[in-house]
């Protein structure tokens, strides 16, 4: 049977039921088709129905949803007509699925190998030892470390990037004809994302499988897709060849998406020149978890020797990978984690290390805004209650006065007043994050610690939040510590930038110093890993390539922590002597301090 298209979706409609039991569509009028070996990208924001559509290709609808109409053909299989048993025959066999978060899609209590070979075994495709051999082969192809033994590990012992690649191995073990990749790199750091993308491209796509790639990130899609379908609210907004959609978008919505993907530079506000001490100063802070040992270090050190200052009204960006200790800095300042050594000074006065002993005034002046508004806002409270609490707590505002202030705050964060009595569950992600921010503002603080406030949001929504923050900073003159994993965001809004790697400050300097090379090798990697919105970037980028070979590392505890991944490491130097901290001169006179053996000249421009 020869068909023009390998996969064909026509007039697809998926419905869900609301509280009253009435059906309503969550996606409708979906048509697309792709040839064997092609990659189709489904792109859109959360709630656009992209994952729903992807899952229908496996004949699957999440609880509460139903495939209500249309046809789906994969090869000779008419998915909507198959019964449960026939679908099970297809899944994990001819059609494979790579889930968004491998960390949660792997069963935590079974070994990797058990799970990777399972599709081959349940479909009786091969015997176990053969399947395991094939799995090891795939591990190797996906550039996984210790391919022979990694299978006996449990999911929690591996990193997100590794798990994502292992999930690809699990999908590929049956040589499927169609692979569904559901936001496979969204949960990863940029530096990891680039490695995973490379592995996917090399192994998944080049094996000739047809693929459907679900993503919200146009730049990522640009590296993978032949065709792009842009979705909004369950309907197709634009569809076409990748090149056309990326470079000559027809729809307004696509253009908005493109615009939001690259944050605009927000101008820094005027600095208030006050001769007094900086607003916040951190001196020699070391912090972590577990008992503090003889060397003054906790058993699990997270931060080492952190020194920084934030001026009144200033904005410090803290950037690093997950696990680099960025959030820990905020926790130390807020008092949630007392440091092992060192001091935090507010207005030149040392803050008590923990929560205990801090005055209400001290609490008021520093406010913490958590990354995830879903968990940072108490679901049992209404918007009004959440905003009133700090007013009552710090300023003793009650009744009408409090209400008036809440209205002002709502206005400030541009939320309709009608939401005041709404419970948190009834708000959208962006609205929640605004409330999250407003709660901090309600305290009338001098410093806000913002921990990844946009990373859980869609790009368009995130961009709006960033705009809001820039406005607030201008209007209220509040100093901000902006923690992020996204260097472009930080570069766009912060006055100063601190790059953190594994708990140590590897580079710190004013924003301008991060506009052009040279950088610390890690900063260089961070910047170089951000995908660009053009096909071919993945192949050209040198970020994340294998570092040069060096000999064994010495015993010194203060050796460069970036050493194992550093593309510029020098055998006999970096693996023997701790790196010095020194200024790095830049062309325009702005300079940053780095922790590295290299000087200006030896650091190649990216």
């Amino acid at each position: 049977m020869t068909q023009a298209f390998h996969v064909e979706v026509k007039d697809l409609r998926v419905t869900a039921r609301n509280a009253r039991g009435e059906a309503f569509p969550i996606v409708s009028d979906i048509d697309f088709a792709l040839k064997r070996g092609e990659v189709l990208a489904l792109i859109g924001e959360s709630g656009s129905g992209k994952t729903t559509i992807a899952l229908t290709l496996l004949g699957h609808a999440r609880p509460g949803a139903t495939i209500a109409g249309g046809s789906i053909r994969v090869g000779d299989a008419d998915i909507t007509q198959l019964d449960a048993k026939a679908l099970a025959q297809l899944r994990g066999n001819r059609i494979a699925y790579i889930a968004q978060s491998a960390a949660s899609a792997f069963n935590p209590s079974r070994t990797i190998m058990d799970q990777v070979v399972e599709p081959a075994l349940i479909h009786d495709l091969m015997l176990r030892d053969k399947a395991e051999a094939k799995a090891v082969e795939l591990f190797r192809a996906l550039a996984l470390p210790f391919p022979d033994t990694i299978g006996s590990r449990y999911p929690h012992q591996l990193s997100g990037g590794q798990l994502q690649r292992l999930m690809a191995a699990m999908a590929l073990i049956t040589d499927p004809e169609l692979v569904i990749l559901d936001e496979p790199t969204t949960a990863l750091d940029v530096t990891t994302q680039i490695e995973v993308l490379r592995a996917f491209k090399a192994v998944v796509l080049e094996r000739g499988a047809t693929a459907i790639y679900v993503s919200h990130d146009l730049a990522v899609v640009a590296q993978m897709a032949d065709q792009i379908v842009v979705l909004q609210q369950g309907r197709i907004r634009e569809a076409g060849a990748a090149d056309q959609v990326l470079h000559r978008p027809a729809g307004d919505y696509t253009k908005t998406l493109m615009a939001a993907a690259r944050p605009a530079i927000r101008p820094a506000p005027m600095r208030i020149d006050v001769p007094a001490a900086p607003l916040l100063e951190i001196r020699g802070v070391t912090a972590g978890y577990g008992r503090i040992g003889k060397d003054g270090l906790p058993r699990v050190p997270v931060l080492r020797d952190i020194n920084l200052t934030i001026e009144r009204g200033g904005t410090l960006g803290v950037i690093g990978e997950s696990g680099s200790g960025k959030s820990t800095i905020a926790r130390v300042i807020a008092g949630l984690l007392p440091p092992a050594t060192g001091q935090v000074l507010l207005d030149g006065e040392p803050l008590p290390p923990g929560l205990k002993g801090r005055s209400r005034e001290q609490f008021r002046r520093v406010q913490l805004v958590f990354q995830n508004a879903d968990t940072a806002l108490n679901p049992a409270h209404s918007v009004g209650q959440i905003l009133e609490r700090p007013l009552a707590f710090y300023a003793g505002l009650k009744g009408n006065a409090a209400h008036m202030r809440v209205l002002e705050l709502m206005d400030l964060i541009r939320l309709p007043v009608s939401l005041i009595d709404r419970n948190i569950g009834g708000l959208s992600g962006g609205q929640k994050q605004r409330v999250n921010l407003a709660r901090a503002l309600a305290a009338d603080p001098q410093l806000i610690l913002c921990d990844e406030v946009t990373s859980a949001l869609d790009t368009v929504v995130g961009a709006a939040i960033l705009d809001l923050m820039a406005d607030l900073r201008r209007e209220l003159g509040i100093a901000t510590m902006f923690i992020s994993h996204d260097i472009s965001t930080v570069r766009a809004i912060c006055d100063d930038i601190l790059v953190l790697y594994s708990g140590t400050m590897v580079e710190m300097g004013p924003r301008a110093a991060f506009q052009s090379a040279p950088f610390h090798p890690y900063t260089d990697l961070l910047i170089g890993s951000v995908p660009e919105m053009r096909a071919g970037w993945l192949e050209e980028s040198h970020a994340g390539r294998k570092p040069p070979l060096i000999g064994a590392s010495g015993e010194h505890p203060d050796l460069c922590r970036f050493l194992p991944r550093c593309a510029a490491r020098v055998d006999g130097l970096c693996n023997v002597t701790p790196p010095p901290r020194h200024p790095l001169g830049k062309a325009d006179g702005m300079s940053s301090h780095i922790l590295c053996h290299h000087g200006d000249e030896s650091l190649i421009p990216s």
Binding site: A99, S104, A105, F106, R110, I122, H123, S152
Partner: protein, 326 residues
């Protein structure tokens, strides 16, 4: 690597057991003090109860002296505690034999009854719990839900009496009382214990089934379950191979809690079926004010509870590779 994680799992389990032993001793001590103090509030003492109403004051005093009840309460407690530490639970004041002897005639009966009940109740509860979880919200689920609720809702003495009327008096299939003796065969024992087992099972099955259902459902919405479905794993296999290893810890915990009830909570079933178990022995000890026996029973029930909880915790560690590796 697997070997390494197993041995570190064993180590974690040992550390936990060590910590638990320490806190268990504390709990046991607390129980013994509480029981002792409350028992002091009871009217009368063993001497009075033993002699009954006819006793003269001198007689009671003499027996009290003989039993050592004329010493101040703290002294008696300390000497009991001293005995316990050296492994001697003392002499029963009423039965005139060592407490260990009295207990050893009853404990095996109780343990056997509990074990057999567990043997029946645990698989049934698992089947019901998993069955309703897999049909969540469906007709089978609702039917099982009503069934388990109704099972909980009937007083156990009513269940037991109905069972006796049907199986003993009407049908004459099973003896109405559990006659347990050393020389009886297993067949006879099982016939005699069948109804006590049935009644106790009904009491605990419902609870365990509901907890199982909750634990399984808690896992069902996890992404790894969807992933398994999308790998083409059959529904039953999804539950057994994917969900159970993750749900086992809360399930075992719930089961341990329910099973700890089987020893001490069996007093009504023991009474109705005249089963010579520990619970009725303890009631005896209360009514006859036999303090050493009462204390020993309390210690056993407490220890049983603590052991079951320990088993639950060790299971949780062994089932969870994350805890195992710690």
């Amino acid at each position: 690597m697997a070997g390494a994680s197993t041995s570190s799992g064993a180590k974690a389990a040992f550390v936990l057991i060590g910590k638990r032993l320490a806190s268990s001793l504390l709990t046991l001590l607390l129980v013994s003090v509480t029981i002792f103090v409350i028992a002091q509030l009871l009217p009368g003492d063993a001497a009075q109860e033993a002699l009954g109403q006819s006793a003269t004051v001198e007689q009671v005093a003499a027996l009290r002296h003989e039993m050592g009840l004329d010493r101040p309460a703290p002294v008696r407690y300390i000497s009991w505690l001293g005995g316990m530490v050296s492994g001697d639970p003392g002499q029963s004041l009423v039965a005139n034999m060592p407490v260990s002897e009295v207990i050893s005639s009853r404990l095996p009966n109780s343990l056997l009854l509990a074990a057999l009940t567990a043997l029946v109740a645990v698989p049934v509860a698992l089947a019901i719990g998993i069955g309703s979880a897999m049909n969540r919200g469906g007709r089978i689920d609702r039917a099982l839900n009503i069934t388990t609720l109704s099972m909980v809702a009937v007083p156990e003495f009513l269940v037991a009496t109905i069972a006796v009327l049907i199986f003993s008096v009407k049908l004459r299939w099973l003896p109405s009382i559990a006659l347990v003796s050393d020389e009886m065969s297993w067949g006879d024992y099982l016939r005699g214990a069948a109804m006590p087992i049935l009644c106790l099972s009904i009491v605990v099955i419902a609870q365990m089934a509901r907890m199982t259902r909750a634990a399984v459902i808690d896992q069902m919405d996890r992404p790894y379950v969807e992933m398994a479905v999308l790998k083409g794993v059959a529904p039953v296999q999804v539950v057994l191979k994917h969900i159970m290893p993750n749900a086992i810890a809360p399930i075992v915990n719930a089961m341990a809690l329910s099973l700890s009830y089987l020893l001490g909570g069996a007093v009504i079933v023991e009474t109705i079926f005249n089963y010579p178990g520990l619970a009725s022995l303890m009631v005896n000890a209360v009514t006859s004010r036999d303090m050493p026996l009462l204390q020993a029973c309390a210690m056993i029930f407490c220890a049983a509870y603590l052991i079951l909880m320990l088993i639950a915790d060790v299971t949780a560690i062994l089932a969870n590779p994350r805890l195992r590796a710690q």
